[in-house]
Amino acid sequence: MNKVSARQKRINFTGWMFMLPALVFGTVFLIVPIVMCFVFSFTDFYMLRPESTLFVGFENYVDLFSDAIFGKAITNTLLFVVVVVPLQCLLALVLALLVNKRWRGCGVFKLAYFAPVITSMTVVALLFQIFYQRDGGIFNLLLSLFGVEAQGFLQDEGQAMLCICFMSVWQGAGYQMIIFLAGLQGVSRELYEAADIDAANAWDKLVHITLPSIAPVTGFVVIITLVGAFKVFTQVQIMTNGGPNNSTITVVYYIFQKGMSEQLVGYGSAISMLFTLVFVAASLLRGGAAKGVGLYRRYRERVLGGY
């Protein structure tokens, strides 16, 4: 058995001390709530009468599969993710490419694009609620200039979710833009100079130098946008309360509605756990995919010599 020296013990102790705050906070605010949520999801915990809580097995999970609103919440959340993630990332990339040029007044644009991010989502949502109004809303005023009749926007089941998506893309793109910008500024100038010598045009440089060089940053941006999109809540709460007719209800909003508004903690916990499982599964898939790509790259390097 190896004897641990006094010096090693001191180093270990110091390491644990550095980890302690993260361990304590992570345990209290992350692990304990998740485990409690897991336990509650198998109960009929009703917040107004917790002492009468009974274990109900998988009843909450079974009920979820016949819950039409939960189905709608999943569909709406997926729609939000599918629309917002690519649009927001693409817009952020375009903005980053634009402000990456060194020209006069560039800072003003950087600030303008980033301003919505530092504005509270509540404020932005309230503003857009006014913009989307049928009577006197700015978007309907603009449409009227082109002879288009007033739209329902947030009051139309077919348009409401897309309106929330549009607002979210506008509000959040500035944040991703800053990350892309940091990535772009890390791309070696020499690569562009070499491309210039080879008479490459702007498109070639973008496709063959810029995008491959910022691929890790792009991956990171996609992941954080994806996670944020799945958690969409504030916009829905402020702008539509899930309406009209649940056309904008999302999974997180439904968890809040069931768990807090209706005090059905057991049922709300079951939705949360299912949602968490989907996240974990998605993460594992992403991890698996990344591993697959790594293996393929190694295979190519070995077989084709890197070409």
Binding site: V35, M36, M47, R49, G158, N246, S261, L264
Partner: protein, 460 residues
Amino acid sequence: MKKFLAVICALALGAGCMLFAACGGGSTAGSGEFLGLEEGEEFVTDEEIALTFTRPTGNDAQEAWWSETIAAFNEKYEGRIRVSETTVTRGNSREYEQRISIWAASDSLPDVLYVDGPFISNYANSGVLIPIDNYIYEGYTDGFLEYVNEQNTYNDRLYALSIVDSTVVLFYNKDVLADENVTVPTELEGAWTWDELKTTAEELTARVGSRKRYGLQIAGDAGEWLSYVFTPLWEEGVISSDGLTTTGYLNGDAGIDAGVYLRSLVDDGAVYASATSSDFSAESPAASMALMGTQNISEFFELGDEMCDWGVTFYPASEDGSISAPCGGWTLGITNDCSEGKRVAASEFIKYLTSAESCESCARATSSPPSRTALYDTMPEYSDPSNEYYEIFSIIKEQIVTCAQLRPKTVGYEVFSTEMSKAIKDILTSSNYGSRDSIRTRLTTAATTIDASIEQIKIY
């Protein structure tokens, strides 16, 4: 690491189990067992009892009345009972009720709670409130409006007492109606029917300068208000008599007729459905009439000269001329977390707040209708035709005394009122509800959601 995770999981499981085990307050006395003070009996105690009291934050007039009244109570009971109050903002998303739920789950409810009347059923069923008939002497409730006592009763036990009440009336702008030669009903028998209200509202809708002035505004959030205002339109009721089923009621034929009527108000341009209360009170009003609650009256008084010259008339009648006016207000109850040693003191506090003097002072200060019947015959604004406010309050009195309709009594009032309001809001504002079939579908969705949620609440 595995050991560490196992320990954390065990701790979390333990915490969850402890939460369940720790919950549960004192015992509840059986019906008929009297533990309070008889009429005229003085409250005595060896040491001062500290009571906690929580209520939602009110408007300026309400806040001033509460501060003054609680200070007066603490002075009267100095050395015996001391009440400390906390206020919580209610907001449009039921933050107050959510706070009560969290307190209930963590055994930290205040001793005395001020709650909205329709929540009594749920709080009584869940044991958040205890019956107070063990502490209130026989005959004390005789002086209260019958329907107010009914609101405060669940399974034949009294759970709360009210200070003042509320109802919905039709406010109108006197100048606009005079200019348009519209005369409002002053007698209950001549109250406008819903169709007459619509016709009048259409007549009053006009373009004034650059903006449109609507005939009628329906202000309010989707949280509860719309269900409160329009429940009587569902002439066959909105929920079964046991308060557990809305399918067949909310989306029954009468319900769909109500929905179609509401939609026609918008389609025919009579209603400004996105209005706020200030749209009625503004100098150049966006609406000539408004269906609003009596709680708005004190705010209108506070506005003084900035407010238009306004009056009130009766809530609309059904086609046969009968009126069922929405009524019911906030009420005081003792919580399960109030220890048994404090419950007599808590009941004394509630009796003080609901005494004839307190009811009168609150009714006057907040311009709300009192919960005690006798006050309608003694308060000048309700009984003396020479009083400057008689024109307003006599109509409120007649409506409250003769045609009050309580909000539905159901353990699922939270989800019922929210879902019904959302459905009404969608019918009024969404572009997807132009046909009878689409209205039926929307009301059916609401009814299904409400019924499913009520089924998830355990009935004790």
